[in-house]
């Protein structure tokens, strides 16, 4: 945790003087649900990366692979799980509705802090 500054030491008007420092603000603590991998294998289509509103999908650029979740900033919105085409194709019984934490999924949303 960085040392919090006093009111005399911060720029007026709430301006942040350096660019690109949102990364220092760890919003992961706001999360109620956490994305984790399930059984269905990822096809590295990057749909989750494209849609994640918090730039929290990690990418292995060299190997062009989706590489997991940045849990310091992921807010657990579940958009990645919603857009994941592998999730959509998980075989289910007629009329069956999958829970968001179903182990058969590719991206599962599990309750934060709950032991599995």
């Amino acid at each position: 945790m960085t040392q919090l500054k006093g009111w005399r030491d911060i720029p007026i008007g709430g301006v942040i003087l350096e660019g690109g420092n949102a990364v220092e603000y760890r919003t992961g603590g706001w999360r109620a649900f956490r994305p984790v991998f399930g059984q269905a294998p990822c096809i590295h289509c990057f749909q989750c990366w494209l849609f994640c509103p918090d730039s929290s999908i990690l990418v292995d650029a060299e190997n062009e692979k989706m590489a997991g979740f940045d849990l310091d900033h992921c807010k657990g919105c579940g958009i990645c799980a919603s857009v994941c085409p592998v999730n959509a194709k998980v075989i289910r019984q007629a009329g069956e509705k999958l829970n968001r934490d179903d182990p058969r999924l590719c991206i599962r949303m599990v309750e934060e802090g709950k032991m599995e």
Binding site: L4, W7, I10, I12, G13, G14, V15, I16, E18, G19
Partner: protein, 395 residues
Amino acid sequence: MSKYEALTGDQAVATAMRQINPDVVAAYPITPQTETVEFFAEYVANGEVTTEFICVESEHSAMSACVGASLAGARVMTATSSQGLALMWEIVYIAASYRCPIVMSLVNRALSGPINIHCDHSDVMGMRDSGWIILFSENCQEAYDNIIQAVRIAEHPDVLLPVVVCQDGFITSHAMERVEVYDDAEVQAFVGTYRPKWSILDVDNPKTYGALHFYDYYYESKRQQAEAMAHAQRPILEVTNEFNRQFNRHYGLFEAYRLDDADVAIVVANSTAGTTKVVVDSLRAQGLKVGLLKPRVFRPFPAKELANALCHLKAVGVMDRSIAFGSMNNAGPLFLELTAALAIHGVHIPIADYIFGLGGRDIKPGEIESVYRDLLRIAETGKVERLVTYLSVRE
């Protein structure tokens, strides 16, 4: 060379705006401010100013555009009244907390409801804690002069707060008066060029404006804003004194009219102060020692200075053109602030509040005289029988 022109209050403000030639004006017409926007739009159309005039679809958008332009480093002005200000509300607070030196002409008009288009001060009193510097103007000349000074006050590096300049709806805004209009070049030299500290358009030095402040920094940001307001008086007076010297005026935090040797005085802002001066003169001619204090700078509230100016009196009457509903005795905001200021500075004199002129109800010299007579009685007995009186309301 300055010249005298017959101008309405709205026109006087538009004239000042033409001379200031701000970078951006975003405004929406609303009675009784409309003329200002109309005149200014004409200046834009005629090429008399180089201002980017943004025709918006509402006052909420007007103030939003002002904030955006101000953060971009522009010198920004706007004008509104009553409901227009009410619609701006959300962004009015944001303008102050982002420290945008925006200048607003506010033509005071009663807030709905019931709907009304005429003068009272309920609109400005609603923004009194919003973080804007608030200046009152008795007449067209003062409105014109205050607008010019407001630019310098707002942009003063030790202030950087938005400033609102008030004048009374219709009474001042639509009354034609003799106004001394200064030379364009002189006004331009006085206001100078705005050199913003930062600009959102400075892409080589990216900054974040309007970031979320939680329990970790919101409080510090507000503490800083309080500090800016607490120290705004000195720069306000610096600008005022420079203006006085250059244009031969006598502005201060307030105007004291025949106050020094008075026994009783009325405190009243804007146009009614003008009527009150006439009453003071006529009562003085009868040998009654009455005076007037006309506030000019309402925010930051000059508590100590007001207490000093009033401490020799035997009774003070505040005339409020709005009601602070549910406050102590449903008194007016000016009264509430002034009584607190006097008490804190150890001035214990009888004081009473007189609500008047709501929704444009006419206030006549006879009624102001009745206030003085009341105050003279209070001075004699030392007793305030009615803390709040509603002047000229039908029973």
